[in-house]
């Protein structure tokens, strides 16, 4: 049985990789995927703590997080599609006006 702190360190590592992805990538789709990485890193630590305290609240919270993440992906991708429709490139640095 691996110590549960290893899971937490893995979770911190995945979260950091996701953060670096958001900072480095300029393609909105890849930034979005990095954010998904961060969601899931947090889910992993939730489940680790639920396991440590044998408390189902962590599982329920992860379930809610997955639901919110799915809604966020649907809306975010719809926004990206609308942005792509009006511009040729989708470089987030060039998106500096709210008006399409």
């Amino acid at each position: 049985m691996v110590p549960l702190s290893y899971y937490l360190i893995l979770s911190a590592l995945l979260f950091s990789i996701g953060t670096v992805g958001v900072l480095v990538r300029r393609n909105p789709l890849q930034m979005f995927m990095s954010i998904e990485l961060m969601w899931n890193a947090v889910n992993l630590s939730f489940i680790t703590f639920a396991r440590q305290y044998t408390n189902m609240a962590g599982h329920v919270f992860v379930f809610l997080v997955i639901t919110v993440a799915a809604a966020e992906v649907a809306i975010g991708l719809a926004i990206i599609v609308v942005v792509f429709r009006t511009r040729e490139h989708a470089d987030v640095d060039e998106l500096n006006a709210m008006k399409g």
């Binding site: 990789i17 995927m33 899931n40 599982h59 992860v62 719809a78 640095d93 399409g100």
Partner: protein, 175 residues
């Protein structure tokens, strides 16, 4: 013993997948790396007695959400050159700074999670009987946490309405 091997394998696959998301040139490769990462996380969830969530992770995340991602990627990126990452607004030393920041963040978060006093008792108590089973999860979800569960219906409804609103043909802004 077996679970130790499985943990290290799944952790390695998860890190490789995360690195793929970070480094892949084309969004399709990023998306496929993310699927790898999510599948490995599903295995880790299973190791932590989160049976239902392991299945949800594979079905909803690696399945539904990533299909949505791949659909949008193929819709938008078809025929275009791989999107460049060298915009006019790129900061000097952006990779170096981002890597440094990520390293600092990792050290801080890992220290906060593992270094605190209350972690000293983290000796993996034996999971009692029904912990993590689908029955226990369902009982918690439909009794104690019924209201948050019902509210997710509102969240999903908002998402559906929002996507329909964004996806409509707008006469004013059509090119």
């Amino acid at each position: 013993m077996v679970s130790t091997v499985v943990f290290w394998l799944a952790a390695a696959v998860a890190i490789v997948g995360a690195g793929g998301v970070l480094l892949a040139k084309h969004p399709v490769h990023s998306a496929l790396s993310l699927v790898l990462n999510l599948a490995a996380l599903g295995v880790l969830f299973l190791l932590l007695h989160a049976e239902f969530l392991a299945v949800v992770e594979i079905l909803v995340y690696a399945g539904a959400v990533m299909v949505l991602f791949l659909f949008v990627v193929t819709l938008l990126m078809a025929g275009t050159k791989t999107p460049r990452d060298e915009g006019r607004f790129r900061l000097a030393y952006q990779y170096l700074l981002a890597g440094l920041f990520g390293l600092i963040l990792f050290v801080l978060v890992a220290h906060a999670l593992v270094g605190a006093d209350w972690m000293s008792s983290l000796a993996a108590t034996n999971a009692g009987g029904s912990f993590g089973s689908i029955a226990a999860f369902g009982t918690a979800l439909f009794t104690k946490y019924l209201l948050p569960f019902e509210l997710t219906a509102v969240v999903l409804l908002v998402a559906v309405i929002g996507v329909i609103f964004l996806g409509r043909e707008h006469g004013a802004t059509r090119k």
